[in-house]
Symmetry: C2
Subunit: 375 residues, 2 copies
């Protein structure tokens, strides 16, 4: 088994992200080693937070890697469970099981499990440790690292949360084999994003090897995950609290989040919404000249190659209005990420409503036209 290890070093945390095929079977022993044998000696305890489905598919393998099988805390799958009520239930369960400040949580699942478990670890007894074991591509390439944790309000997604880094992340690409194909494709959009904003070689690799990657080739997937993690690790290490550089990770997210909000987070996967958002951002960049028409066409084509893009209906003006509510806005100023060539990006604050509306109108037109299936 070959494993790639990528260090994340921020002012407040230092941890390693391990990526490889078959890593799951080693997680328990590696966590025990991180805790200086405290699991074997019984001095400290781990609690696995996971979904029923991941537990069924991969739980036995994870359990077997520990000296004794850890206690499980189950959260049903789905964004609708990423709420205060779940935080309350799980923290009460942790307390009932006697979890203390030395206990460690394992976030075993996709983005919802990862975000919630990180947030649970951030607030339980004012902060305990957690380990990420992401099982979806989106979680492996994006949400499992960087320390952003959180939950949703009725008023919006991820409006509550904390910065709290894991002590280690283990990304087993073998778990991607049980991922629904649409989720794999959606997750790959975030990898494309990583290439566009910070890693031309990753973008080129994904352009050239789309077939292998989309068919689940383990070597190709491991390469994509590792390169994406390296991009995020570099950006997050340079700007932990999102004061500047880190915002480039939000390419496609301004309109992407608006699309998710207007479709009630139900019609599109996160990566599918981000794909539309990137297409719009690329169009604005092309119009402004931060990318050439050829570069824009190339990026646009790769995003579509990892599609198909998912249709939706929305009102373009409403999408633009929703971007005014973006959590990244400060003191009323709207932030927007534009690609600069392929492999670089910039955060600007002067994108106008007119530019946004033009780009939003184009994607809404295309997305809704897809719903008019020809007879």
């Amino acid at each position: 088994m070959s494993t790639t290890t990528i260090p994340v070093r921020t002012p407040s945390a230092a941890y390693d992200v391990h990526i490889g095929t078959g890593l799951l079977a080693t997680v328990g022993a590696q966590v025990d080693a991180l805790l200086n044998g405290a699991l074997t000696s019984g001095k400290q305890r781990v609690f696995v937070v996971t979904s029923p489905e991941i537990d069924r598919l991969w739980g036995t393998q994870l359990d077997a890697s520990f000296p004794t099988p850890p206690i499980r805390l189950i959260i049903p799958a789905g964004e609708q469970h990423k709420r205060f009520s779940t935080l309350e239930r799980i923290t009460e369960e942790l307390a009932q099981h006697g979890a203390d400040r030395d206990s460690v949580l394992i976030a075993f699942g996709g983005g919802v499990i990862g975000d919630l478990t990180g947030f649970l670890a951030a607030i339980y007894m004012r902060g305990i440790r957690y380990v990420g074991v992401p099982t979806t591509l989106l979680a492996q390439v994006d949400s499992s690292l960087g320390g952003k944790t959180g939950a949703n309000l009725a008023a919006g997604k991820n409006l509550i949360g904390a910065f709290h880094h894991p002590i280690a992340v283990f990304s087993d690409t073998a778990t991607l084999a049980t991922l629904p194909p649409a989720e794999l494709r959606a997750g790959l959009q975030e990898a494309i994003k990583s290439g566009i904003i910070h890693d031309r070689a990753l973008f080129d690799f994904m352009e050239t090897n789309a077939d292998a990657i989309l068919s689940g080739d383990q070597a190709a997937l491991t390469h994509v995950v590792a390169a994406s993690v390296r991009v995020k690790a570099e950006v997050v290490s340079a700007d932990e609290k999102e004061s500047g550089l880190r915002m480039i990770l939000n390419l496609g997210h301004t309109l992407g989040h608006a699309i998710e909000a207007t479709t009630n987070y139900r019609q599109l996967l996160h990566g599918e919404a981000i794909a539309w958002g990137m297409i719009a951002a690329i169009a604005i960049a092309a119009r402004r000249g931060t990318v050439t028409p050829a570069e824009a066409a190339s990026m646009d084509a790769v995003i579509r190659a990892y599609g198909p893009l998912r249709p939706f209906t929305a009102d373009a003006a409403e999408l633009v209005a929703l971007t005014a509510k973006d959590k990244k806005n400060r003191s009323g100023t709207r932030s927007f990420v534009l690609p600069v060539g392929i492999g670089s990006a910039v955060v600007v604050r002067n994108v106008t409503e007119a530019e946004l509306l033009e780009a939003a109108t184009a994607i809404v037109a295309e997305a809704s036209a897809m719903l008019q299936v020809p007879a």
Copy 2:
């Protein structure tokens, strides 16, 4: 108006605590100055989190200090509201009012308001700023500084929370005039604690000036609050995350928390429970010889002078069992704070169940005997 300013400097925060009579009338202008005039210019917004009672008594005065009256978010008084449900309601209200990452919360009230508001600020959009304006003695001398924020679970008090420091604290001792006498006395127990663990001069001042302090003399109260804040600021600055020294702040809290838990947090005020806990801790210290019999008698007498101690009934063995669940315990080892003479304290991990049981039995006997009112 004379104001004492005490700096708190920790690895993660630097802020000033201002203590004085009549400070309330200056809060708005001072917060505006801290934000470089962003309130006057309308670039940033403040939200006041408070209770109906404090709002009625002091809200007008606070409002008048701001360029425009801030929006109010009301939390009913009482520990029973320090829960997830309140966090959810207030975060939703913040979102509906358009609070963003530059918005600032004002914690205007006692300990419950302070703990909740700090926690709200810690988790709203992964962290916004807040200012403490504590209006109870307990909050002024203790809970408003140090960065400990949180809420309760059914399973126990303060089991969720975060370390999140205010950007400033304004303690107006004039607000103590509307405090119920029992709350003033209970808060003074935490000041006595500060003297015992770290400031012999404060202890002596409280021993000598009990009458002036208990009658609400502003100069005497300001001296006590400032000295107590200085103790906490020094301890917290030296040990932000409670890995060692900071634990001495918990003198009397091990059994005090157990008493609160066994009486369902309803019969005794926090400071009243801590008073009993300190009496027990002093007895253990006297038996171990870390304090002389004369020192123990002196400390015991001062605690009682700021009483009367509030009666309660409990099972001593159950109190001891509850201390095993203390949040400060790590990997199953019980921590306990013992005074060393007057003005110093130490954290030990070898206090036995027998020692605890003996001390608990003594206070339970005294506390329950007080309920047998003579005919």
